[in-house]
């Protein structure tokens, strides 16, 4: 099902590897999302999220400083951010970890290596569920 996504929405991409951030930004641009910013770990992302009025957060799990799972927990515990949709894009593939992310309130979980089609499908699914 094709979902009408708001292509102007503001997206924060958090990953410690600049190449992965570039790949995700390029894929998002291909999907029509051009309003994207980057952060290299949870502790740089958090102040940006608090002031930047982001509509969507795409984060890695394993990062120095603040990890993606801690960022997710912090976002869910913050009154102004708790409804922010969060997609985790990570190499972490243990069942325990996926369950932990789900319990922490993640909206979608993509394991690396991933394809453009998977990223698109998960983003659509997240906003389809939010809109319904």
């Amino acid at each position: 099902m094709e979902v009408d996504l708001n292509k102007d929405m503001k997206i924060l991409v958090v990953d410690d590897f600049s190449t992965m951030r570039r790949i995700i930004k390029n894929l998002l641009r291909d999907l029509g999302f051009t309003n994207t910013d980057e952060a290299d770990d949870g502790s740089t992302a958090l102040p940006m999220l608090k002031t930047g009025k982001y509509d969507f957060l795409v984060t890695d799990w394993n990062m120095p400083g603040m990890t993606g799972i801690d960022l997710l927990k912090t976002v869910r515990a913050d009154d102004s951010l708790k409804t922010l949709p969060v997609l985790m894009v990570t190499a972490e593939a243990k069942r325990d970890q996926i369950v932990a992310a789900a319990q922490a309130g993640v909206n979608g979980y993509v394991v690396k290596p991933f394809t453009a089609a998977v990223l698109k499908e998960k983003i659509e699914k997240i906003f389809e569920r939010i809109d319904s």
Binding site: F17, S18, T19, R22, I23, N26, W61, N62, M63, T67, G68, I69, T90, A91, E92, A93, K94, R95, D96, Q97, I98, V99, A100, A102, Y109, V110, V111, K112, F114, V118
Partner: protein, 258 residues
């Protein structure tokens, strides 16, 4: 390794003499020969001390050997590139740098090429519509003249842009040579790690013998960690606790009500 065998042999000897001496001790005590029993105890103590010194000596020698072995691979690299890199972490840092450079160069080239492809596609699409109008004879002579100029420009641009696309694709191709170079470095580091592991196992075996002689028992409590990032999983297909791909993740999440 000769050391451990040699040591294992001597350790068995020590154990045998321990058995003989203890039964001798028992019979002396049973017979009420206290002085004789004490002498056996002191003999046992001496044997134990001698063994202990020997073990520590062997352990020290082996430790030195192992430390020396650790160096062999790190300094004996053949290519000029590797000789600049003195230890494994430097080598791995080099791999990170090489892969980072290659990934960025590839991304640069892709980002540079994509607009060309998009432009070619857009212009071709738009020309196709005009062309169809011409074939349906819906075009005025004025429009036709404009179309021929556009086709001219398009073909010229196409020749130039497709040349650029080809050039960038060739550059992307060449950028993949990092795999060869980093592969060599990683293979060297892997063999180094194997050597280090072998030497460590020998050290642990020796330390075990010393523990056995001195009767040391280590209290190695398991440290409980919270859930931590582990990075990419190897052999995911053979592991129960790891998902083997996005389909598995989706199944797991949907079983959780996602």
């Amino acid at each position: 390794m000769t050391n451990s065998k040699e040591m294992g042999g001597s350790f068995d000897e020590f154990e045998n003499s321990l058995k003989v001496q203890s039964s001798k001790l028992k019979s002396l005590v049973d017979d009420g020969d206290v002085a004789g029993a004490l002498e056996v105890i002191s003999e046992l103590n001496n044997a134990r001390d001698t063994r202990l010194y020997l073990e520590v000596g062997l352990l020290t020698r082996s430790l030195h050997e192992s430390i020396r072995n650790f160096q062999i691979d790190t300094s004996g690299s053949t290519t000029e590139e590797l000789s600049k890199i003195e230890d494994a972490s430097d080598r791995l840092a080099y791999v990170v740098e090489m892969t980072n450079k290659a990934a960025n160069k590839t991304l640069d080239l892709v980002e540079e090429t994509m607009p060309f492809a998009a432009q070619m596609k857009n212009e071709a699409q738009s020309l196709k519509q005009e062309w169809d109008r011409l074939r349906r004879k819906e075009m005025t002579p004025g429009e036709f003249r404009k179309l021929t100029t556009r086709i001219d420009t398009f073909l010229e641009a196409l020749t130039k842009d497709s040349g650029k696309v080809h050039e960038n694709l060739s550059a992307i191709l060449l950028t993949q040579d990092f795999q060869d170079l980093t592969g060599q470095v990683i293979n060297r580091v892997t063999s180094l790690v194997k050597d280090v592991e072998e030497n460590l196992v020998n050290l642990v075996r020796m330390a075990g013998s010393v523990d056995a002689i001195t009767g040391t028992v280590h209290d190695l409590a398991e440290v409980e960690n919270g859930i931590e990032g582990e990075g990419p999983q190897m052999n995911a297909a053979q592991r129960e606790d790891v998902v083997s791909g996005q389909d598995d993740v989706d199944d797991l999440l949907s079983s959780l009500g996602f």
